[in-house]
Amino acid sequence: MSDAAGSGKIFSATPETTEDKALREWWAAQALGSLDNLETAARQIITLCTTLLGSLLAVLALAEDPLPAYLAARAVRLAGGAGVLLLLGGLAAALVVVWPRRYAAAPDLPAQQRQAFTAMRQFKARALTASLALFGLGLAALALVLLLALRLAA
């Protein structure tokens, strides 16, 4: 090989190996399927957030009269409130992932379509990351409420 590019040397381009071709096609399929994967994950988070919110509200038992004794503890009220807010935030962020938005791309301009696709994927990925973080924190808050409730009820 010569020392500098553009020196006039012609490089021979060889065919792809079967493995390279298979890998390229697999990655292309993954890239195109990523939107579906993101939305599937968001729907899973929506289900989980809804279920955990139900569990958290059941533990907090706000409709009961009189209120459970452990609700007198400030830590339980704080962790419970934080858990509800975090899970609702996670639910909202997951809904943003699956909520339809308008993206414009000319049908005869692949570069513009690619740009719109990338924007769509980045937006959904960011919303899903936020949703996952909020869901994780909400889950931790729920665990804390459960532990505190068990400890105070004993």
């Binding site: 090989m1 590019a5 490089f11 021979s12 381009a13 060889t14 065919p15 190996t17």
Partner: protein, 63 residues
Amino acid sequence: MKPEQRLVDVQCSECGRVWQVDLAQVGRDAQLIYRGEESAKVRVECPVCHKYRIVEVPQRWLS
């Protein structure tokens, strides 16, 4: 390395067409598939037969 020095002439083994590949486009129009200590393999698409080809260039030519 100046941008104009990143152009390399590549010949397709299928149709024989010679065209220029801009190594600055690696990661966009061309895909890097292997980067060794001495050389790098880049996947490019022939503009005539539209088949994907692999071209090996010195690693230091890539940014």
